[in-house]
Symmetry: D2
Subunit: 206 residues, 4 copies
């Protein structure tokens, strides 16, 4: 799994982007003056549940090496924008696969897995040689097939995403993705994500 | 592929549901009186591009026998509600598969397909016997695996869906799904869908 | 304020609409069988926070006699569909006004109010006589001007609306609207709204 | 009316923000290589109707001096984020008003207008002196009252907004707002907005 932030909202009319922008938006509601601590102001609004102001900032991630099982779950989050690598147009004759940890730790399961995945590649290539188009040959490709997806979410939508997918009950792969995204956006906007960072990633430094 | 309408908006304050409701909403904007032809009124609004009034009516479909490739495309339409059969919780040791027409028409490809799919079932069952949980064993399952999904869309979102997925350039499976949905909602609300029915399904009766 | 439900999702493939539909959707996720108690099933899902299944049902309200101040707040709820009486097209020379309780209870304030509102109507009519179009004459109309709006929300969006606007900190008019909507949908789907009914309206029957 | 861009998506992983980001997203779908002309690539995608890639970029506007009539129309655009000056919390005893051009050009109408607006301010202040809270005194304030609102929209939502509100049939104030927004975002991303700039603002330089 590779996760990289490739874009973020830039506050061009002041300092402290992106949190400065959120304070700007929040203070417009009350025509109040900034006291020079955008982080404190924004954190207080989030704590009160006044989350609409944090929608003004967004982040774009370039995510690769996640399975199609994971991307299918991810795109169910509708307040977001997605551009995904298309198996209709991209040749998949040498795909990568995401292997679950529970398989990795089980040598017999690894043997089944390896044999099966070798068969996938062979069958895909044979269908292609028989004149089947990419968009139909991909019907063979398993959920494990790695994909790449560009995802833009605003901070409010991200907080919702983390609250659902950061929990221990979440499926392992989308949870790992959510936590990596959280780790990265926390650095950009600690005032917005500190409580979730503490909740889901607080132990990691200890 | 099986598509069945299981719910539709019922206009309880008047007649001619669901189109009667759309006229009710449209006439509220202008405080105008009904002239007893909700279909004409609504059709005129849609033709003008005043599509917001048709959002008030929705339809729910129970869709089964589509591939996971198709459902992955479907759920990218964000102005809709989805409840999908979960491969995390449902046992998939005897899955059904959707086979592309281009494979069906190619005996050599069918041979490759059949051998591959037999292997899928075997490998899934072996992983399960080795103690791998359903949510991880499903990583082997191909895009062809049939799924079931409950979909609710309002009429405006449906019109957008049909305009994108009804076109000949659309991928064959989601196009077949879109046209079947169009065929069915056209019967419920011809005033809303007549132009699209004519465009995409007009030849079928000839 | 007048609030009337004019449409609701009808579950055509089974019994117990609209809650029966929600159970249908929820059981599709797990391929589980109904045990004949859709209410219990749905209530359990809502309690767990699995709210996506309740999106499949919607209600449409015909709301009149609320102020434009209130409708401006209402339409900020974006997961909904609206058709509002247009002051651009409807003649407003004899408008109704919503008067705040705090004014009603203050005779001096009532005197100021009555004089002012008489002036509104006069000024609007004079502008119209001077050839100013409705869409510009309405610039004089106060926030108190009564409006009518058709609103469709799904059950999940309604629950969010009630959680924000049902609280005592909410502005009085939109709170009164929210509680009246809650009272009415609770009758349609007690399994979905019982906890909120208890929280916000529980005292009313005592 | 004052419109100022206060934030825009910054493409941190490459050059040519924000259009460079849109190309990045678009090329991820096809795993194709950039040829160094993000503008051409993005313009071609928009022309084809493949608008999802332009959702990844957003702009935030700080808008003031528009009427509440205008802001009520604006917030009906649901794929956007808003933070609006609250008449519940901000003292409005010296409000500014937006005056329609049709009134400005009509001396008799101006006389009616001026007398009326003087009365608004007086009545608001008297209610406040009588102990009526801001949130209730504001019921007197007319649609003409100037407001301030922070608006974030992604490029796809902006294109839709311009296509509806840029047309000559649109109400004059929201049209003026839309065209000023278009003028400003066109400078940031000509590849995305050139066709609409030409259509709605093409004559202005001649």
């Amino acid at each position: 799994m590779h996760v990289e932030i490739i874009a973020v909202t830039n506050y061009t009319a002041g300092e402290g982007a992106p949190v400065g922008l959120l304070e700007h938006a929040g203070r417009a509601c009350y025509q109040s003056e900034s006291r020079g601590q955008p982080g404190k102001f924004v954190q207080a609004r989030v704590r009160e549940g006044h989350e609409s102001i944090i929608e003004h900032a967004s982040v774009t991630f370039d995510i690769s090496g996640i399975s199609r099982a994971c991307s299918h779950q991810l795109v169910r989050h509708r307040i977001a924008s997605y551009s995904q690598e298309s198996q209709r147009y991209v040749d998949m004759s040498a795909p990568e696969f995401v292997i679950p940890p529970s398989v990795v730790g089980n040598p017999d399961a690894v043997a089944v897995w390896d044999e099966f995945m070798a068969g996938v590649t062979g069958a895909y290539q044979r269908l292609r040689q028989l004149g089947v188009r990419k968009e139909d040959a991909r019907f063979l490709l398993p959920n494990a097939t790695a994909t790449r997806i560009i995802v833009t979410m605003n901070f409010r939508s991200l907080r919702h995403f983390f609250s659902v997918r950061g929990e221990k009950a979440a499926q392992w792969e989308i949870r790992a993705l959510a936590l990596e995204m959280l780790r990265q956006v926390h650095q950009l906007a600690p005032a917005v994500f500190a409580d979730q960072y503490e909740r889901y990633l607080g132990q990691e430094g200890k």
